[in-house]
């Protein structure tokens, strides 16, 4: 085999990435750092100067900080249960994975149908006599309800992706490790924390990075449930680009999301690092 062959085979994919990813990406960087053809940081100062920036930033962070850990715990629990099943395993996996097949906007709309003034929740509460007339849950007076609804929708929508990765990872751990731990005195919980979790680190890395990146890009669900009442970074990027027609500030927002993504990915990689020679 000629030595150049592997590189030749990789060339089309590399070219595709260069042309359709790195080039536009470079353009966005330039966009964020120029205004009227001159190099400047004004886009960033405009962005941070706007009254919505701080709440968009912190809303995004808080959403991630609440949704991802809850999903991690749920995904680990569900994966452990699925792992133990002898029959009906794939059936259950499919059921768990249904929300994955639904677009995030559709997911947002489903939860809107539950929470809106004429939605299912109000119908049920009214029928049970808890409220005498439908309540407005998703109004600007109660942003925390919108926040909660977004959390719920996100957890419902994207827990399965973590679970699928973790189930696959658990399948890679030979069962002898668990048996050895059992013989050497570990309780069920100790086997989970001392054997399964450490051996699952590579899968946890993948699942967490994927999920954290998705969380920083949360957009459609928020729009569906709260419009612009609950600002998030991605929503603001959209606003500046299309409503306010200011591409520079929109690019600056994109850079903030990118920065956060890179930073948190590095943190996850660092925290769940598996030393060389310690892999399965």
């Amino acid at each position: 085999m000629p030595r150049a062959l592997p590189y030749l085979l990789l060339l089309p994919a590399s070219l595709f990435l260069l042309v359709f990813f790195f080039y536009p990406f470079g353009l966005v960087i330039v966009e964020s750092l120029t205004r009227g053809g001159e190099w400047t940081t004004e886009n960033f100062s405009r962005m941070t100067g706007h009254w919505k920036f701080s709440s968009a930033f912190w809303n995004t962070i808080w959403l991630t900080a609440i949704v991802v850990p809850v999903q991690l715990v749920m995904a680990l629990t569900m994966a452990s249960v699925v792992q133990k099943l002898k029959t009906g395993r794939s059936g259950l996996l499919y059921i768990f994975a249904i929300p994955l097949g639904i677009s995030d906007l559709a997911a947002g709309l489903i939860w809107l149908a539950i929470f809106e003034q004429s939605g299912f929740l109000n119908s049920i509460l009214h029928a049970m006599g808890v409220v005498d007339q439908p309540r407005l849950f998703l109004g600007y007076q109660s942003i925390w309800v919108i926040f909660l609804a977004v959390c719920l929708a996100e957890i419902w929508r994207a827990t399965a992706i973590m679970m699928v990765i973790i189930v696959a990872g658990m399948g890679l751990i030979p069962k002898e490790y668990n048996e050895a731990a059992e013989v050497f005195g570990a309780t069920r919980w100790q086997r989970f924390t001392k054997v399964t979790l450490p051996l699952l680190r590579p899968s946890l890395q993948t699942a967490l990075i994927l999920r954290i990146l998705m969380a920083f890009e949360v957009f459609a669900v928020v729009v569906a449930l709260g419009g612009t009442t609950l600002p998030v970074l991605m929503g603001e990027t959209f606003q500046w680009q299309f409503q306010l027609q200011d591409r520079g500030v929109a690019a600056a927002y994109a850079m903030v999301i990118l920065g956060l993504s890179v930073a948190f990915s590095l943190v996850v990689l660092r925290l769940l690092h598996v030393p060389k020679g310690a892999r399965i």
Partner: protein, 345 residues
């Protein structure tokens, strides 16, 4: 004190019966080997003693406690697995210390025991490494050290040497025997390798099809097989069997020769290949293959149409096609019941 008693233990997996009501007692500090071909139930029996499988019926006693309802960690056992199961995410030190940490021993005691067993297994220079940086033989040593560090009443070993190459296996076998004799634990050791079984065991339990066919000292198992299966399984090459025709009064016709035997209705003649020597009168063996092995020569022949093997002195010139009379040593002849396949005594 850790005498192990297995009382009427049976195990079914669905329709398949892996163990048929097995009874076995293993004395304190005894080295018991469970020997059999794959699928004979030896590993299932070991896993039932360990608590990794639950018996469908029967009782398991360790010392004076009935343990078959207890989880593995409450049985006072340690185990060495076939694939070692050395935790990849822990250093060698932490692997050996694993059971001690679970038992919440003080750090000083953990360090003392890990250091002592690591020295015993000659791996003290590897304590900081991960299992990915070890060879198969070294991992094996870690797995044994981890079991010894528990100072358990009972050590269970599931084909611990089967993944090592031949030379290493020989070395580890001798070492294991020494280390385990010194540790004064009761050991149950599963293997399909009869040489391993003969060399290590105080007693061997030969298993076949979910039954223990014979449980006895290695020489007994070899010299006096309790059943045809044991004779045909143990020994390399295994025992020769020939049909015998009763001539009345305990005399039997075997391939044209007359031998004294048991006074029963029907019997099968058996002799080990090394208990034959060329003589003027004997079983006429038509030589098919001659394999010189150095100290002796392995001859594959036919006697009365039956395959027949003999291990002979290597200084005799034998070639295929020769017919040589082979005389069995009279007190090494064994007789088996052709219906029950049990030894006739």
């Amino acid at each position: 004190m850790a005498e192990i008693a297995i009382k009427g233990v049976a195990k079914q997996f669905g329709d398949f019966t892996a163990l048929h009501s097995v009874d076995l007692t293993i004395a304190d500090q005894e080295f018991m080997v469970l020997l059999g071909a794959s699928g004979c139930g030896k590993t299932t029996l070991l896993r039932i003693i360990a608590g990794l499988e639950t018996p469908s019926q029967g009782e398991v006693w360790i010392g004076d406690r009935r343990v078959d309802h207890l989880p593995p960690r409450e049985r006072g056992i340690a185990m060495v697995f076939q694939n070692y199961a050395v935790f990849p995410h822990l250093t060698v030190f932490e692997n050996i210390a694993f059971g001690l940490r679970m038992a919440k021993l003080p750090q000083a005691e953990v360090t003392r025991r890990v250091t002592r067993t690591a020295e015993l297994m000659h791996i003290e220079q590897l304590l900081k490494r991960y299992s990915g940086e070890l060879s198969g033989g070294q991992r094996q040593r870690v797995a044994v050290a981890r079991a010894l560090a528990m100072e358990p009443d009972v050590i269970l070993m599931d084909e611990p040497l089967s993944n090592l190459d031949a030379l290493l296996r020989l070395e580890m076998r001798a070492e294991l025997k020494g280390v385990l004799a010194e540790s004064k634990t009761t050991t149950i050791y599963v293997t399909h390798d009869q040489v391993e079984a003969m060399s290590l065991a105080d007693r061997i339990s030969v298993m076949n099809g979910g039954y223990i066919v014979q449980a006895d000292r290695p020489t007994q198992v070899y010299r006096n097989p309790a059943a045809r299966f044991v004779g045909s399984f143990i020994g390399n090459p295994p025992m020769n069997f020939l049909p015998a025709k009763g001539a009345g009064d305990g005399r039997w016709h075997v391939a044209g020769q007359v031998f004294d035997g048991p006074k029963v209705a029907a019997a099968e003649f058996a002799i080990r290949p090394e208990d034959l020597h060329p003589s003027e009168h004997g079983l006429d063996a038509e030589v098919r293959v001659v394999e010189p092995l150095g100290p002796h020569t392995l001859v594959t022949a036919e006697v009365a149409g039956q395959p027949f093997r003999a291990v002979l002195e290597s200084d005799r010139a034998i070639s295929p096609g020769d017919v040589i009379p082979l005389a069995p040593i009279p007190d090494r002849i064994r007789w088996f019941d052709p219906d029950t396949h049990k030894a006739i005594q």
